[in-house]
């Protein structure tokens, strides 16, 4: 095998490990900012897969999808941070376990 060749399985494995690290961050941390950053990690793991498979099939639909994912991630980060700021204004302490207003 050509030494410059990277099997696409390496990208899939790397992407899935980073995705699960993001999942672990969302599930374990109590700081909403770090939870949002873990969500960004998951978005980027998905983007890496889009890039890898766009490269495998030499088709730029993966690039377009990754571009749209980046835009949605920007909107999501803005809204999430606005919610954090709003909760902090009323509570003066940000702990996601204490924010249970919508709990049924």
């Amino acid at each position: 095998m050509d030494p410059m060749t990277v099997p696409v399985g390496n990208y899939v494995a790397l992407s899935s490990v980073i995705f699960f690290i993001g999942v672990a961050g969302v599930l374990t941390r109590r700081n909403p900012l770090i939870m949002l950053m873990s969500i960004e990690l998951m978005f980027n793991a998905a983007n890496l897969l889009f890039m890898a498979f766009a490269r495998v099939w030499v088709h730029n639909a993966g690039h377009i999808f990754a571009f749209l994912v980046i835009m949605v991630a920007a909107a999501e980060a803005a809204i999430g941070l606005a919610i954090v700021v709003t909760v902090f204004r009323s509570a003066k302490h940000v702990d996601v376990d204490d924010v249970a207003l919508m709990k049924g």
Binding site: V8, A52, A54, R55, A77, V84
Partner: protein
Amino acid sequence: MIGFWILAVVMLASSIWCITATRPVYSVVALLLHFAALAAMYLTLHAEFLAVIQLIVYSGAILILFLFVIALLSSGVAPFSVGPDRLPKILIPAVGLIAVALGFITYALSRTNALVTPGAAVGTNLGVTGEAGVFGSVADFGKALFTSYLLPFEITALILMVAVIGVILLAGDRTPYVSSRKQAGENRRDMREAVLRGGE
């Protein structure tokens, strides 16, 4: 191949640092490192436009937004719960889950033989990164974005507008907002009296 492994180690280490850091600022720094390595990996995958977008939008806009919020919320007080206090409890199930998922992926990929070859001519339209007209170049990307994928691109504008309106409604400054004509009249009278008092 060696570049892939270096970047992969940097990305894994920085993502673990991001979710285990005790202070949010350290998490932002770790995420910055992660995004830089990811942009370099996009370059090895012939996605030069997305590499630049990754640096500008993520590192330049989103992470700075995070930094602003951290600076805004933690001025003088310690508003955040610290420490990954639930991490030890979930560590063993998480590692098991990752192992199972990787097993599935390895099995699925062992049945294909797709390869990623940086710099080599796999497809028809693949040349040197940075040249116009090859796969992943800005011209290629822009042509696809504004012809085949024009509708998703336009919908992106709608999503961003909804996000902006939502953010203003959620966290915007409410003092200039007046709900009634009476309130507006009172505000105007207060301002006039303040001017008459000498601009205190």
